[in-house]
Symmetry: C2
């Protein structure tokens, strides 16, 4: 399997409050209210942009998770947050998560197109179907729709969104003051979509955005998730703990994408990595230990119990997981996360307490503890082996972990010829090495693919 056409590996900064380690907010350096402070996120994005990273990314769900006792809770709505960050940065890509289960296509397509316009073509959308009954309860449902139903809706949602984004030809706006004709009505069209989940007339109330459409990102690794990714995703955020698993996932998804008639280079596979960086290995280990000691196990056990669909009392801290947990097939929630945690615990024979340290440190993603040189080696190894087109960098502590990565790991990757030292493009598509999509209506409207004015 050869690498994609983009010249460098892709580095995305996955941003979360004071960091991905659940206890990071308790460090002396952290502001427990940072996740509600837009200036905090603007600074983080500026640090990432200083390192010429491809993009910043925010996870999201339309629900308040778990117990607010445990860690900073609540989240600014991601398209609002991306817009604020766009105003404080020039080049870096901006990826937000939004649910196809709890939005409707017209409003969401418009919102992402708007972010793409105000950012000059830097928007990406992580398409999620939102697991769990809690979110469902905020939208009039007693429980979440079935997993397969959610993914079917997601696929139809995307088809509608593509047509809305393409409902104006690129040259529909004219702005002809002399004749008094602002636009060519013949170059926009209703989409008249009628499907199982949606009926949407269109057109969108925005011209085609700078990127044509935002970059489509996908993050679930269940069977349904992989099918959706192979059809639609241009980047995939995935959690892989071992090189073998990462290689297998990478090969499988590239083959599936090719089988859909798509160029395998048009999908970028980006495993998450939680780097814990120290000047020496001992310093890095100490930082990780300090963080793990700040975890309050009673909260973490409750969270783990929810994920595993058991009661907290079924998870004594110093025992391994119960043997009789359900198969992934029986789970209607976040399947890939369930499987990953279970496999990690079984493979390494972890006790619940040990598992909490690993999961609490990065939500099941691969934690890599070491010097900048060691972190750069780990990245290089997977990239060179063909297990990744790049990485979703998930600093355990923010901003210090991102600063350490940008200032000490990125220069090593640049020196090795694996990463850019200057941006060469202005849009997220250009950073990722993705083409601007052709307008879906181009064939029926031969004039529609002229160069925009």
């Amino acid at each position: 399997m050869t690498h994609s056409t983009q010249k460098h590996l892709i580095l995305n900064a996955f941003l979360m409050s004071t960091g991905h380690h659940e206890a990071s907010w308790r460090l002396p350096e952290s502001d427990p209210f940072a996740h509600l402070d837009v200036a905090h996120f603007q600074r983080l994005a500026q640090i990432a942009e200083r390192g010429r990273l491809d993009s910043v990314f925010f996870a999201d769900s339309p629900v308040l998770w778990g117990d607010i006792g445990r860690r900073p809770s609540g989240a600014l709505e991601p398209t609002v947050l991306l817009t604020a960050i766009a105003m404080a940065t020039q080049r870096i890509g901006l990826v937000a998560t939004a649910s196809t289960t709890y939005n409707d296509p017209f409003n969401l397509a418009r919102r992402f197109a708007s972010v793409d316009v105000v950012s000059g073509g830097r928007a990406g959308w992580n398409v999620v179907t939102t697991a769990g009954p809690d979110a469902a309860g905020n939208f009039g449902l007693d429980d979440q729709p079935a997993h397969s139903e959610r993914y079917e809706r997601a696929a139809e949602f995307l088809e509608v969104a593509y047509r809305l984004w393409d409902s104006w030809d690129d040259d529909a706006p004219l702005g002809d003051k002399a004749s008094g004709v602002w636009g060519d009505q013949a170059r926009i069209r209703a989409i008249d979509h009628v499907g199982r989940h949606f009926r949407v007339r269109g057109p969108l109330n925005l011209p085609r955005s700078p990127q044509g459409r935002p970059v489509i990102v996908q993050a679930g690794s269940s069977e349904d998730g992989k099918i959706l990714a192979s059809r639609h995703a241009e980047a995939v955020f995935t959690a892989q703990q071992t090189l073998d698993d990462a290689l297998a996932f990478y090969r499988d998804l590239k083959l599936r994408t090719a089988a859909m008639g798509r160029d395998p280079d048009s999908i970028k596979i980006l495993p998450g990595i939680v780097p814990v960086i120290g000047g020496t290995e001992e310093e890095a280990q100490r930082l990780e230990r300090d963080l793990d000691e700040l975890i309050r196990p009673e909260y973490a056990v409750a969270q783990l119990a929810r994920t595993l669909k058991v009661r907290p009392e079924d998870l004594p801290l110093d025992a391994q997981l119960p043997a009789d947990l359900p198969d992934e097939d029986e789970i209607e929630g976040a399947k890939s996360r369930y499987t990953l945690i279970l496999a990690l615990a079984r493979r390494e024979h972890l006790t619940v307490r040990e598992l909490l340290g690993r999961v609490g440190g990065g939500r099941g993603h691969r934690t890599f503890i070491g010097t900048p040189e060691q972190v750069a080696d780990a990245i290089t190894e997977w990239y060179a082996a063909g297990a990744a087109d790049g990485f979703n960098i998930m600093p355990a502590v923010l901003p210090s972990g991102l600063e350490a990565f940008v200032d000490h790991v990125v220069p090593l990757l640049v020196r090795r010829g694996l990463f850019r030292d200057e941006y060469t493009g202005t849009t997220l598509r250009e950073h990722y090495g993705l083409e601007r999509p052709t307008n879906l209506y181009a064939t029926t409207h031969p004039t529609s693919e002229r160069t925009p004015a």
Copy 2:
């Protein structure tokens, strides 16, 4: 009727692409693509802030209006736009329109709370029910829900939004690093709303925002609209052509608000005014004439025909309106706009051509053409008469019309003691002289109204 407790009249800048005159985009000074340029709106807001205006406002509908030939078409999603403007301003209030018919309460309440957070308490929400079958077609409906149905849904939507915004006590977040307890779970709650239109569990995934909730604005003047305003609105944007009509509307709405058990000062009534300002009266008249001559009547007639529910061929340019138009009661769309245009045409015996100039110049709002002194006099007269708590300023041309207002009219109003010369507050509520609402759950949770940390 006495004036409200705020010391000055309220001045809001209603922003729209290159101005409220439909032909403004054809002027040499105008950029026909300004409505897609976030920097344009940031500059406008900065001009308004230079004049210490209370707020900027954007109309909106989730649909592409009419024919794109006529005037700049499409609009950035307003909460995205407000966020971008918040990043470029410090004090001015930020009011966006969003539909209760085509949104759901959880997502929209969260979005406005997010804008309130990122702007430091400057958000306002103009609550609309969105008339017309075209918007309905973008959301799976064949036609709009009935007028009364839309307003019933709006009222329930607001009740849900209030409870979501209040679902955290102000002091629920603790951020206690030493104990490792971020928040007090006992001080947040599910709202468990079950109504005719919505079932929403809650809580919101955000703490209470700086203003407690955004300022609630309402703009319809139909009977249903006035009932909604009297129960919920803290500011009302209204179109009134004559002082008598404005006085009657003001008195009626203040009395209705008092009848709902609310302080009449807690609702601010702001008629729209389209000032066309010149150094001399002749210069102002010339500017207006230049603009009217740039209107293309074939587009304007089609638009007027849609509003009046007739065919364009029923509206010959040099005749008055047909005598047999339906009553407001028979209209399911934008009732107050329909009535206003009809009354204007009948009262002044306007031909269709004359009516188009008046409507195209400011969509049925009161156009005032004159010198800064004359515009200041017009504002003073209505304010002193008790016909308004302030005005929604709708410049015919942007930015030049807003600059003329800020630089030449505002200083006269300041000199007359009618308007502030410096901001005294930081939130939109403080600018408008509105209280921060008490948490709805305060009575059942006696500790909930402590001062936030």
